[in-house]
Each structure stands twice: as structure tokens, then as C-alpha cells.
Symmetry: C2
Subunit: 251 residues, 2 copies
Amino acid sequence: MLYIVGIGPGPGYATERAIRAIEEADCVFYEDYTGPIDVETLRRAAKTPPIRLTRRDLEDESGRKVLECLREGKRAVLATAGDPMLATAHAALIAAARARGHPVEVVPGVSIICAAFSAACLSIYKLGGVATVTYPRGGVYSTRPYELAEANLARGLHTLLLLDVREDGSFMPPRDAAEVLMALEERERRGVFTPQRPAVVVHRLGWGGGVVVGPLGAVAKWDGEGPAVLIIPAQLGPVEKECLEAVAQRI
Amino acid sequence: MLYIVGIGPGPGYATERAIRAIEEADCVFYEDYTGPIDVETLRRAAKTPPIRLTRRDLEDESGRKVLECLREGKRAVLATAGDPMLATAHAALIAAARARGHPVEVVPGVSIICAAFSAACLSIYKLGGVATVTYPRGGVYSTRPYELAEANLARGLHTLLLLDVREDGSFMPPRDAAEVLMALEERERRGVFTPQRPAVVVHRLGWGGGVVVGPLGAVAKWDGEGPAVLIIPAQLGPVEKECLEAVAQRI
């Protein structure tokens, strides 16, 4: 039996179901390349020392180590930060395990995407889609955040932007994301990511962080660290506005 | 101090943070009109018997009972199913508490929206927005699900549909939702909600339910009960497809 378990965005966000699955597992694997995982909680709950899997283990080797544990008739857990199904590799592992006759259970966790909206008092009904802000690769910028935010602003919907993970596993800080977005504006020039564009930053959720709000130009100078997400809000409803002002720090 | 606490979609989904906030509260309130809440978990954790608030308490009376507890200098919890920030009334309560000088903390929970995508192996990156399927009021159908799904299908994005709550507090079953959507098709006739349109039903998550997949015409004849959500998927990626087939029951 394979359990794909999300333990939430930080300490204290694991659910009772997640803890139980980890406690009962013979092999506990985790990955920390999609988000920063609370390894202490894993260690406390697991019978055996948790084993870290790299992106290569899951993507290039298709989760071979996990499948080996299952083949011995054991219970395996693959634990991730947040909700477990953000990464395609995990969906591929589910399909591979099922194809070999192993039952699979997904244990949903607190997702950074839904939790960021919640923490910032924004209405999830107005989420118009998710994109990732990436560092330019070989000088090339991904324009997907620009196109998505442009379409969403026209439809009155909020855009959630996940931030890149660097090669060394560290997380893009919000200031770098703001720089990338404003660099996109320099190229595209349709007024989507100007320095005046309001942005909401939800940073280090569950790790002592919080919510800040301000124009992109101010985010580019703000020194908070990642992991973080950026939300580009459309026009706010009156209750959203009042509530956001109550919970966020203005920069 | 006011805590707005989500305890997830069903038993076992409460996080450690949620349990701690409930344990430490002097007054524990909950509402069950936005989703079915696991009252047993509240009772086990709370020092005092949890108090049920109706929609009227929160909307028409602006959470007066909660504010009274805060005014006495006590710690109050308002607990909800899923993630706590789905309802505008909760955001309004946060603003009201802050305006009276009370600090507020939101404790995000496992949201039905993110968890439904996770349970069905669908990529949250392809969530194009959320709408609610409502029973016709005075013979009038809300066309928002139709318009959103139409726009999303054209953009290759999935649409998440929440289902109505009846006046008596019971939840619209998936078969009624399929009937409403096909009735919309009869009026709009642009091929969005035909009986052949594939749909994913995530029902009674956390309460012994699961994931079923089939055309709307089959969902209209399926006897599973609510609470449930419907997802109208756009074209699936190969991994999404394989994983969905591994976790879902076909109808």
C-alpha cells in the first residue's frame, strides 16, 4: 500500500490522517524540492528514519526506491510539503504503483495555494489560475505569468504566482520575483506588471512569516525571504479589501 | 484574540494548529452551513461545549455572539469545515474584530477545492476558476457555471463547481447538479454541458466517499450523495489521465 501524504506548508499543519499514515508506514520517504518540508514532524511520527528523495530519484528513476519497498509487501509513505499532488512526478508514481497492483491512497494536505488565499482574506472564488515565476533560463523569460495575469485582470480574477526553486534547492525571494515581473513588463509593455501594480506576498507560511501588500516596485526592495507566493489581485470586493488590510502589513 | 480555524473536509483532517487553537479557546463557535463540520473533533478538543452559529448569526447579526466573547477579554474560535475563508461572512467578522482592537489569526485548513483536485490527480495549475451550481430560484438558472466552463475549456483549464446548499441545510447531490447543468445546455446550446461531457465527482471527501468519473448523463443517474464537488476537466495531460484512472471509479 502506498500513501501519498501532504503535511502542509510548515510545522503544525500536519493532519491527524497524515500523522497516522506516517506512524503506520514501514518505509517513509519524503521530498523537499517542491517545498520546504517539516522533517521534524516526520522524524517524530515515523518508526524508521525518513529517507530523502531527490528530484532525480522521483523523476529520472521513477520512484524506484518507493516501488522496491512496495514490492516487499510493505507500507510506504511518500510525504511532501503542502498538498502532495502539486508535482507531476507524484501522479506518475501513483500510476506506476497501481500498474504493479499496489493500492494507493492520497492524503490531501493544506495546500499553499488555497492557504495563501485564506491567509490574505482573498476569495478563492476569484482565483483565475496559477503560474510560476521563473528565473530567465539562458536569457529567456517565461511569459506565462504575464499572459495569465493579463487575462485574469480583464476578467476580474486574481492570479496566484508560485516562485521558482533554484538549482541548489533554495527558494526565489519575493524581491527577485518582482524584478522578473517588471522585466517582463519592459518587454511586453501592456501595463500588467508596472512598478505600481498592487501585489500580495504570502511568505514563509507556517514558518513565522506573514502577509504583506504593496506595489511591485516596493516588493522589489523588500527583504523578506522565500518560500513565498505572490498574488496579483484583480479589483477587490469591499469585504476582501477591509479584511486584507486587517491581516496584511503594508510595504 | 480571535482564531478563524478550518478543520478540513471531514474526520481526521484537523491540523495540530487547529486542535491547539480549539483547546486553548474560552469560547468555541462553529458553523455548518458552508460545509459539513466534524463536530466530534470539536467536542473532544474544546474546554466548553461548542456553540453552533447559523447563517443568520453570522450574516444578519454580524457575529455578535463572537464579538461579545472577545469583548470580555476572552479567546474565541470560529471553526468551519474545510478552509475557513470560503465565506464572505468570515472575512467580515475578521474586519469587525480588528476594528474593535482584537488581534485575529486565520488557521488555514485543508480546503475542499484544493483537496478535490488532489484526490482526483488533477493538476491545480490547470484550475481555471470556481463557480457554484445552484437550484433554479423562481425558475431562473444561474449561467455562471456555463460561462466559466465554456471559457475554461477554450483555454485548456479545468473548472471546479461547488454544489448548492438547500434551505434546510442539506447538500445538493451530484445527480441534481448534472441535471441543472444539462438544463443549462438546453437553454444555451453551445455544447458545454451535453450528456456526453466528461465530469469528475469528488464526493463525501473525508466521510468515506471517493472519486467517480463519467459523462454528465451518467452522473445524472448516479445515486451518490453530497456534499460533493464536480470538476469539468479540460483535455487531460497523459499523467493526469493515467493517475485519474488509477484513483477513480468509472460510471
